[in-house]
């Protein structure tokens, strides 16, 4: 893939949520630093994986990226337009190009709408097809693209299984012919035998329409399978980013190493033989993240420097970025 201009550019993106208390005067008592200075680019036609444990800020990052949460600081440019400062018509036109697929196939479809209404919503909002008849033709076409029968358009979401609902969600995301789709854990709520169907569908659609994905997930095996490059998040920051095989085979950051070693392998001999790094303790609170390197309280390599200074984000090898004092 020739790299011209990246489709998505994220610079020092921050999203803090205030923690308030009090009934009348809502005093701010702290800040949840869900995303605390994240930068990356996504090239056209590429899939970037964003992985990390729950609470690391990956979902918030994905939503802030699409302007669903107002960013606290930073710049997000999608196809050259800054979504953080865009308003009104400009925002709407960016929204048309950047869509989202959600985690929970039960909660992400309006239960009182028919499939036709759900899938045609982007068409109506962006006034893409005004004629009712043409619009429902387009909905049927979209249903076909995701492997569902066009005859099902008058049904309600509750009549479908989880995998089918996820396909409906994909059809909705495709309706406005986007360039970029944020996939927020699109398969983690599905059964194993259904996951592969949805992943293959996403790959086929990418090939067909040249889509660019940000694939947010906690399943590191699936991320290795589907993503071209992978970013690892911990407590609101990216600690390592590299091309997939580089990351999985030559990981540098001790957190990446621990995370990968914790993923079970469906092979008894290999699984039992390998060296596990069991991290102690839990992820600290993002309200008071540790000073210095955020990973230092759980890090097996941590030294004096890690407690004091924030590690620099540097390119350790071509295209392989890491933030750690010790590697």
């Amino acid at each position: 893939m020739s790299v011209t201009q990246p489709l998505v550019e994220v610079q020092n993106l921050k999203k803090y949520f205030p923690v308030t208390s009090g009934l009348f005067l809502q005093r701010k008592v702290g800040m949840v630093r869900a995303v605390d200075g994240v930068s990356f680019i996504i090239n056209r036609g590429e899939t970037l994986g964003l992985v990390g444990e729950s609470g690391c800020g990956k979902t918030t990052a994905g939503r802030t990226l699409l302007g669903l949460y107002p960013a606290t600081a930073g710049v997000v440019r999608i196809d050259g337009h800054d979504i953080c400062s865009a308003k009104g018509r400009e925002l709407l036109s960016i929204r048309r190009k950047a869509q989202m697929i959600f985690q929970d196939p039960y909660a992400s479809l309006n239960p009182r709408w028919t499939v036709n209404a759900i899938v045609s919503e982007p068409l109506r909002v962006h006034k893409l097809i005004k004629n009712n008849k043409e619009r429902s033709e387009r909905v049927k076409e979209l249903m076909g693209l995701v492997g569902l029968s066009g005859r099902l358009v008058n049904r309600f979401p509750h009549e479908f299984s989880g995998g089918q609902r996820q396909r409906i969600g994909v059809a909705r995301a495709l309706a406005s012919e986007p360039l970029f789709i944020v996939c927020d854990e699109p398969i983690s709520a599905l059964d194993v035998s259904i996951q592969a169907q949805v992943v293959n569908l996403l790959e086929d659609l990418q090939d067909q329409f040249g889509l660019t994905y940000l694939f947010i997930a906690h399943d590191l095996s699936m991320v290795r399978h589907i993503c071209d490059r992978v970013a690892v998040m911990y407590l609101g920051v990216i600690v390592e980013l590299a091309e997939r095989n580089e990351l999985y085979e030559h990981y540098l950051h001790p957190y990446t190493r621990a995370l990968l070693s914790a993923v079970p392998i469906p092979d008894p001999k290999k699984d039992r033989a390998r060296q596990r790094i069991i991290l102690t303790g839990d992820v600290p609170s993002p309200i008071h993240p540790p000073e210095g390197c955020r990973f230092h309280p759980r890090c097996p390599l941590a030294g004096e420097e890690c407690r004091i200074n924030d590690p620099q984000w540097r390119e350790a090898a071509p295209g392989h970025w890491v933030a750690c004092h010790k590697v």
Binding site: E53, G163, N245, V263, P264, D267, D282
Partner: protein, 329 residues
């Protein structure tokens, strides 16, 4: 090896407003003393219902155990009186931990109170002895400052710590069987690794048999001795853990493994997906449940339900076709 639990032809159904749900359709398996048996399957395959039927935890109605036996040390758990089940078996001989450690603990009682309660009712300990034992148990599952922790409430603990508390409670009465129902599904991978490590250590420490229910074929590989694969209320394959992964002989197991991406390998192909979805449990089973999605399907599959038959040492499958040769059995 002596069999500690033997289940024969267990059948569980639910009577619902929409009709009969055929949840478990005549399954048989056994558990040896001290071994770890993994029960693997997708949601709705009947893996949890099987265990809840054995422990008689299902509300009846709507549930109904339509047949079968579950012999634990010579007595049929499905026939013994309720009070016997409550006082001597459940929580004492056979303990269970659940997927969601948030809802399995009572939020208004301290951890100490919840652990000592079961010690006092099942083991007839006095408060002081129960507390000593509770501290011992919490230390055993790797919680520091155990004595202080007794006074803590569940919300003061993280998900992983709560699951440790659940395990401590399950172990309180030295059970001979521990049934773990998706105990790591709600946890992150690093915490999952902690819990798996803990269970492996405890298993060696106290000689106890474990039934580990999961949908994740990965977790099981490093943990189990034997694996039962379930689909739509049937056991379709039963084998040693090595055989399941190296020589999967049922088309479903085979397809499931092919649908899993591997963290330890470079991508070499598209994932092999299994078309369709599991069958509705509202329809009375007829023929092999996997037949509509199976790539090896033959005419017989639609008419007769295959029974679990041995294909090797400790390896049995329920299938009419030999997937290696394509020959019918």
């Amino acid at each position: 090896m002596t069999k500690i639990l033997e289940v024969n032809d267990l059948m569980t159904r639910f009577h619902t407003t929409e009709g009969m749900v055929y949840a478990v359709n005549g399954i048989s398996f056994h558990l040896d003393e001290g071994e770890t048996l993994a029960v693997v399957g997708e949601s709705g395959c009947g893996k949890s219902v099987t265990m809840m039927s054995i422990l008689r935890l299902l509300p009846m109605p709507p549930a109904q155990i339509a047949g079968g036996t579950a012999i634990y040390l010579g007595q049929d758990l499905l026939k013994i009186p309720d009070h016997e089940m409550e006082h001597n078996i459940r929580g004492k001989e056979i303990a269970m931990i659940f997927q969601d450690p948030m809802t399995s603990l009572n939020p208004v009682l301290t951890i100490g109170k919840q652990i000592t309660e079961s010690l006092r009712t099942h083991m007839f300990m006095d408060q002081a002895a129960a507390e000593r034992r509770a501290v011992e148990l919490l230390e055993m599952v790797g919680l520091s400052d155990a004595r202080q922790r007794l006074k803590a409430y569940p919300h003061q603990f993280s998900g992983g710590m709560r699951q440790r508390v659940m395990i401590a409670m399950a172990l309180a009465c030295n059970p001979s069987i521990l049934i773990a129902d998706e105990p790591t599904t709600a946890l992150d991978v690093t915490i999952q690794a902690q819990i798996v490590e803990l269970v492996i250590r405890l298993r060696e420490q106290i000689h106890m048999a474990i039934i580990w229910i999961t949908h994740n074929l990965g977790v099981v590989a490093g943990l189990a001795d034997r694996v039962n694969v379930m689909y739509a209320g049937y056991i379709v394959e039963e084998a040693n853990v090595e055989d399941i992964y190296e020589d999967p002989s049922h088309p479903y197991t085979n397809a499931l493994l092919a649908a899993l991406p591997r963290v330890d390998r470079r991508r070499d192909r598209r994932l092999k997906s299994i078309a369709g979805a599991p069958p509705s449990l509202l329809v009375e089973p007829h023929g092999c449940p996997f037949a509509p999605r199976c790539e090896y399907v033959v005419e017989r599959c639609g008419m007769e339900t295959p029974r679990l038959t041995p294909v090797g040492r400790d390896h049995a499958i329920a299938c009419w076709v030999d997937i290696k040769t394509g020959a019918q059995r």
